[in-house]
Symmetry: C2
Subunit: 435 residues, 2 copies
């Protein structure tokens, strides 16, 4: 081990998180150096947008539009990749690791799709690949899972891990807004992107839960293994019915041991209103981990935003710098490839909430109950609201006891075909959590 | 660095936590070895009670009643101190560190009273002293504070960190029990000790908040710096009045930046009922950390219990073993000695809840308001309940706007001396938290 005088950083991507990182380097440089026990130097910052040269947080002299000026600089020890998205971020990470540089990233998509290969590459080159900021923004999650909870046999992780959808659902619940209006408001406030597809359809949450599940279950779980379903079908009355039944509605990302397999999925869910997760509102995130030793542990905080996310990126940088100063490398565990099967969604056993519009006439509930019964689905609660007189229609809501997803889907198709049923309004899974 | 073949552990104290540690060693030995990247051997277990030799979790051959058989064994790398209390635990820790052994402990009292000296001793001998289990039982707190949140300027830590008192307060709130009955029930269930003094008078929480405050503010804060007040004065009607005002009552342990000084205290507090801390019930603990970068982060989980606490003890052991396997030592930051002043409680500025019994006659509230006004205390809300006819007495509750503690204490004395005031029932600080 040769004594090192400083650790040198190259930052690629000066967007929301990257600017936050540059700001911390500018404003808290002494703190970083003292926490790392070695000076940390931000040597170069790259962004395709040449206007970023004028960022108030960097010296223009260190700016470049060419990421290779960082990736190919032999003096740079740690590459911080903050451009997001799959390409060219993945190539940048591969190039950095292959040249023996440590990498810190917030890139959930790349980690979710290629994590095990990249961790293996890091191991081969004896460098660290850290990605705390990829999940849960400013909430410490990955480090405590690896450092404090790794002796547990984890049975389940229940998460609210997408701030955009949680903001929209909170608005809908509190103000009775329809989904499009709540989405528009989230966009106006900058909580949702112009193209909100990845957030509202659950892809973002699917990336994140696959990363957490991989660590928790020590097995290779990817984005493509995660069933995902978004929130666009949720209507204001779903929140009212849910509240009447004692539930809140949240977009949950779940990873759960189910016998020898793992059940990993993202979808809206009814959760009991007296649980802590039900109280997680607005853009906040929360992750509930359940282990045989620790029992229930919850981490809560800001799942996005410049300063909170940049904070954990910089903490990863400081961690690596401290290791460099002592001549060590923390090599990540490589998840074993598919030692655990992924349970297909149609084998899921869950409780369900079904909302439908029916003809307001005698014997309707009996017909629906019969179809459910034929698929071994029993009813736990039912709510029927006053008829819409004009249309001679009424809305009913049914919750079921635990049933198999494939049976429920078949039953729903048959119910929808009944003459007395006008429309299936929504089907939401019910998660009773561990209270 | 010589290559090591194994890491050897000596465990002192086979009580609730110690047995949990031995059980994990017995049942999850392979997991420990693989997480540490080196075999970990539990070589010796000491307890003064020779009956513990028959513990189902240890081989009787490794049992001893003599702690020195561990402290003086040159083969033992890590001493795990789990006897609790100040003496002889402190001497054991000093002896272990002085002989170049790493120490893992759950001992909040020793850390709170002697932490900086012990950390300095560890540094002098180039060994680690880890104590994650000393605060918040099974909740990862100290490691994430040091690893993920250390770049923050932390402004406040609000905690519910004593499970016994939180259980008692939850019982009182939910079932309308008087304090002695709720305490008895906690004792019957094993949630409170036969001698509950340290828990119910806030000493236990004071130990813990001083440890967290030391880490958060990088300054030397001890048990004796912490103002502490217990819960025994709390009455069932306080919960009813609090609810009417929109608050819950919790025993809070708080550490807060207040200008150039730090305000560290333990006392019952009214907190808004729509905050997450207000939802923390029973034996669960929660720690809310507020930083300039991270904003609000909350850690929640079991603050006590054999398996959860043993889990974080073992995680500390594994962490040191992994470092030994790579030839490194993680040396803790030594808090600077009193760079930050401790703000005396009588200078506290807070809102207050005052409950008192008065003569039911005209002009009473005017007299009380006059006394408060003379001390620059203004009223934010007042509740007066129906008179107890027989005694011609009524109960009134007042909450104040922010006022200085010393003024409030003086005003209370003057109010108590008024002829029309029969009794001051309770005085509780109001913490509006950061929502």
């Amino acid at each position: 081990v040769t004594a090192r005088k400083a650790v040198t950083i190259g930052l690629i991507g000066l967007g929301v998180i990257g600017s936050g990182v540059a700001k911390i380097f500018k404003e808290k440089h002494q703190r970083l150096n003292s926490q790392a026990n070695i000076p940390i130097i931000l040597k170069r910052v790259a962004d395709l947008d040449s206007n970023k040269k004028d960022s108030p947080f960097i010296d223009p002299a260190i700016f470049t539009i060419d990421a290779n000026a960082i990736l190919e600089d032999p003096e740079i020890d740690i590459v911080v990749e903050l451009i997001g998205g799959e390409n060219p971020a993945k190539e940048f990470i591969i190039k950095a690791l292959s040249r023996g540089k440590h990498v810190v990233t917030a890139n959930k998509e790349v980690l979710s799709k290629y994590g095990p290969e990249l961790l293996t590459l890091a191991q081969e080159h004896n460098v660290s690949l850290l990605y705390e900021a990829s999940v849960g923004g400013g909430i410490p999650l990955i480090a405590p899972l690896k450092r404090n909870l790794q002796i547990n046999d984890i049975s389940a992780i229940y998460t609210i891990i997408n701030g955009t959808t949680n903001y929209i659902l909170t608005k809908m619940e509190n103000e009775g807004l329809e989904f499009p209006a709540a989405l528009q408001e989230a966009q106006d406030l900058g909580y949702a992107e112009a193209n909100p597809y990845s957030d509202i359809e659950g892809l973002d949450a699917a990336y994140k839960i696959s990363i957490l599940a991989t660590i928790a279950f020590h097995t290779d779980i990817r984005f493509q293994d995660v069933y995902h379903e978004g929130i666009s079908r949720t209507a204001p009355q779903d929140f009212r019915y849910a509240r009447e039944l004692g539930y809140a509605i949240k977009l949950l990302a779940i990873a759960k041991k189910a016998g020898d397999s793992v059940d990993v999925r993202v979808h809206p869910a009814l959760i009991p209103e007296d649980t802590l997760l039900a109280k997680v509102d607005g853009v906040f995130n929360a992750v509930q981990v359940e282990g045989d030793l620790s029992d229930k542990v919850i981490f809560y905080g800001r799942g996005a935003g410049s300063a909170p996310t940049a904070n954990v990126v910089v903490a990863d940088i400081v961690h690596i710098a401290r290791n460099i100063s002592t001549g060590t490398v923390e090599v990540s565990e490589i998840p074993s490839s598919k030692t655990t099967a992924i349970k297909p969604i149609d084998q899921l056993e869950s409780r369900y909430y079904i909302r439908m519009t029916i003809s307001d006439q005698a014997g309707v509930l009996a017909q629906i109950t019969r179809v459910l019964g034929e698929h071994s689905i029993s009813i736990s609660a039912a709510i029927q609201k006053e008829a819409y007189i004009k249309e001679k229609a009424a809305e009913i809501v049914i919750t079921t006891h635990p049933a198999v997803e494939s049976s429920v889907q078949e039953a729903i198709q048959e119910i929808e075909a009944l003459a007395i049923v006008k429309q299936i309004g929504n089907l939401i899974r019910v998660e009773d959590l561990n209270r």
